[in-house]
């Protein structure tokens, strides 16, 4: 399939329109990225519903996986936010599962990784950022601005420290989204570049092939790890908004 057409290492990230939809000026076409998101949603729903269907006292493998992912996020919230973090479980769990399935589905050959696009990751991060900021204002009102004043610093340094704190706060959605997108983009590009060496080198192509196999394992680890990092940072931001310093 790949040999006939031009297939560079970056062509895997191309957005292809599957169903053109135009709403006035806006282009809201259904693309391969949207398709993968829908598949991820269906996958998550099936995974959770079918896994929890039997409700066995001694869980089978599938039910164990469902319970594991549930307990993982519950534990994460308990450790980072504390007992009142349980209320935010649905939000964090949804984010975690969506990012995890996006990353994992991208590991299937010829599929598309929607988390490798900054539009997607930045939209997710912006939801977290705006949500957490609103949460902070709802919980603390105007006192939320005290978050930008570092404790234990003399008033003389406030004009310097407050802009730094505000920049640091504003950088959260950027670092959150760039981290996920850069990891996915770099990893998948590297995989394709090494895979491109395999046919070129002939018999010696075994070496890059072995490398691709090893890299695939590493990519699976990173796919999980980045979903975990996204979830834990969301928890930390919720914690900051609830408890300020």
């Amino acid at each position: 399939m790949a040999s006939a057409e031009h297939h560079g290492p970056l062509s895997q990230f191309e957005i292809k329109t599957l169903l053109p939809i135009h709403l006035g000026e806006a282009d809201i076409s259904f693309t391969n990225s949207s398709l993968m998101m829908v598949i991820a949603l269906i996958g998550i729903t099936l995974f959770l519903l079918l896994g929890a269907r039997r409700r066995a006292l001694v869980p089978g493998r599938w039910q164990s996986m469902v319970e594991l992912s549930y307990e993982f996020i519950v534990g994460l919230l308990r450790d980072t936010v504390g007992p009142d973090g349980r209320r935010y479980f649905p939000f964090v769990f949804t984010l975690f599962m969506f990012v995890l399935f996006g990353n994992m589905l991208g590991m299937i050959p010829y599929s598309f990784t929607f988390t490798s696009h900054i539009v997607v990751t930045f939209a997710l991060a912006a939801v977290v950022f705006v949500g957490v900021t609103i949460l902070g204002f709802v919980k603390h009102g105007v006192r939320f601005f005290a978050f930008f004043v570092p404790p234990g610093i003399s008033v003389a340094l406030w004009p310097l420290m407050i802009p730094i704190e505000i920049i640091s706060y504003l950088s959260r959605p950027i670092s959150l989204s760039v981290r996920l997108f850069a990891n996915m983009l770099a990893g998948h590009t590297l995989l394709k570049v090494f895979a491109g060496f395999v046919p070129v080198l002939g018999a010696a192509g075994v070496v890059p092939l072995a490398f691709v196999a090893a890299l695939s394992g590493l990519e699976l680890l990173i796919a999980f790890l980045q979903a975990y990092v996204f979830a834990i940072l969301t928890c930390l931001y919720i914690n900051d908004a609830l408890h300020l310093h």
Partner: protein, 115 residues
């Protein structure tokens, strides 16, 4: 360990199981630590750059509004760099705290080693 009422083969089995479990734990922990180090490296890079981007962005925006180019860009570039370092400092601080919490039983030297 001191359970004298257990017969010999059972005690043997118990000992072998304990040893195997300890080995398995060690392997899993080593892999998890490698992964954590990897994610930490990427995190720190992202934190540093993100704050700089925000600083430069604010500087450029204010400059084009107030017509003070390039002075606010310079000021906010420095502030952004400072914010980036503050971010990195916070990540490391948090990292040390969670490592201390999760594995409080481990010796101090080992904990310092994996920073």
């Amino acid at each position: 360990m001191a359970e004298p009422e257990r017969p010999q083969p059972l005690r043997d089995l118990d000992r072998r199981l304990k040893r195997l479990r300890a080995e398995e734990d060690g392997g899993a922990r080593a892999a998890a630590e490698r992964g954590r180090g990897l994610s930490l490296a990427v995190r720190i890079g992202a934190e540093l750059v993100a704050a700089l981007v925000v600083g430069v962005g604010i500087g450029l925006l204010l400059d084009s509004w107030l017509g003070t180019a390039p002075w606010l860009l310079v000021v906010f570039f420095v502030l952004g760099a400072a914010a980036g370092m503050l971010n990195v400092y916070r990540v490391m601080e948090r990292m040390n705290r969670t490592v201390g919490d999760a594995t409080g039983k481990r010796p101090e030297a080992e904990r310092n080693g994996e920073r």
